[in-house]
Amino acid sequence: MRNLQEKLKGEIIELLNLEDLQPEDIGNDEPLFGSGVGLDSIDALELIVLLEREYGVKIENPEEGREVFNSINTIAAFIEKNRK
């Protein structure tokens, strides 16, 4: 699980071109949207693509997405739970 969280941080930084951030700058429970890392709705679309492409997990329900993308920990837990 810990490795997955670190991997996710690296992938998110690269995918979203967050040049100012290093993986260690993102806390596992830090909110990714709004006041935390500061991601927005287009980033959410990119994260949906990332999860489906890299981990084979789909987010079907937008309400579910809101909870899943809350933090690195919630994304990692969602992947662990749904990965085949």
């Binding site: 979203l16 071109n17 967050l18 040049e19 100012d20 500061g38 287009i42 679309l45 990119e46 693509v49 489906e52 492409r53």
Partner: protein, 342 residues
């Protein structure tokens, strides 16, 4: 149709963005096309927004911002952009993703940013500007069409318009254009050298404290014969009640290649000082946007830059510049620019 230039900025393969060292240090490019000399964007654009922008958007947004600052305009009455190839870098990225993912799951950002109107859209979003927003993509007349729309907006009562032209090159675009012998791919080629950049202007309906030059008139025409050029120029000067002797400088989009159109123009205006701009900008669908910018800067500074003068002598006051450009002999442009009376 007349518009006053109250602000302008350009990013080109030379130092043209920093007004303090405008064309002072000549950048020698060792590549077969001319890449833009870009500023430190992080000092100009919010880094949060910067992370999604491709080069053409960065060049355009930075130039647009600077032109607006010069003109002291916060929200323009219209945003109008001309671009020949649009956001090529993101288009390539999106097409590659389609192939790599076998038309499967695709990144939304590359798609959103791949359209031609992303530049004007991005500027409007950043400024929260809901006004007229238009993008023209019409080969070598992309900027000219944008300029004509801008002048029409002013004629219809809009106070100020942000208008510009931009194009970017990628290695793939250069390779493709080279393979169809459209541009030079090595130094032995007797073909034009591809360049890239962005030039933006704030045009105002009325002269104000910031105005330093004016676009008096412009005309765009297609597919003339070499013998037609003389008549077109005389006609253009006539309708502005001018003779060739009234022109202080002819600024041409000559690209260093043997060219009957520019020879005809040079012959007609042989008594005038003649300068060029494509040794700075390189060739592109919107190179003339930089030509217009250079003419405006020359009128503002009352200076003909050493690296641009081709023939004749410049002395005294620089009141009127006649710009002549063509793209591949197809899309031709004549614009008359003047110094604003103080």
């Amino acid at each position: 149709m007349k518009g006053y230039i109250s602000g302008t900025a350009a990013i080109t393969p030379q130092h043209t963005f920093d007004t303090g060292r405008y064309l002072e240090e000549w950048v020698d490019h060792q590549t077969s096309y001319l890449s833009a000399t870009e500023p430190a964007y992080r000092e100009i654009i919010d880094p949060k927004l910067l992370r999604r922008m491709s080069r053409i958007i960065k060049m355009s947004v930075a130039s647009a911002y600077k032109a607006m600052q010069m003109a002291k305009v916060e929200i323009p009455g219209a945003v109008i952009v001309g671009t020949g190839l649009g956001c090529v870098q993101d288009t390539e990225k999106f097409l590659k993703e389609i192939i790599d993912n076998e038309e499967g799951i695709l990144s939304p950002t590359a798609f959103i940013q791949s359209t031609h109107n992303t530049i004007a859209g991005q500027i409007a979003l950043m400024l929260q500007c809901p006004n007229h927003n238009f993008t023209f993509s019409n080969r070598g007349h992309s900027f000219e069409n944008a300029l004509e729309d801008a002048l029409l907006q002013l004629q219809e009562g809009v106070e100020h318009v942000l208008v510009g032209g931009a194009d970017e090159i990628t290695p793939i675009v250069h390779e493709l254009m080279g393979s169809i012998r459209c541009v030079s791919i090595n130094q032995e080629d007797q073909l034009s050298v591809l360049g890239e950049g962005a030039a933006f202007f704030i045009l105002t309906k009325d002269q104000n404290e910031q105005s330093f030059a004016a676009i008096e008139d412009t005309v765009a025409f297609n597919n003339p014969l070499v013998d037609d050029v003389r008549g077109k120029v005389v006609q253009f000067l006539d309708r502005n009640e001018l003779a060739s002797a009234d022109i202080d400088l002819v600024l041409m989009g000559h690209n260093g290649v043997a060219d009957g159109f520019f020879d005809a123009m040079g012959d007609l205006m042989k008594e005038n000082a003649i300068a060029q701009f494509k040794n700075i900008s390189g060739e592109s669908f919107t190179a003339s946007a930089y030509g217009h910018h250079l003419a405006a800067v020359m009128l503002q500074k009352q200076q003909v830059f050493q690296n641009t003068l081709v023939s004749g002598k410049f002395g005294g006051s620089l009141d009127r510049i006649l710009l002549y450009n063509h793209y591949k002999g197809v899309n031709h442009t004549l614009t008359l620019l003047s110094k604003c009376p103080s």
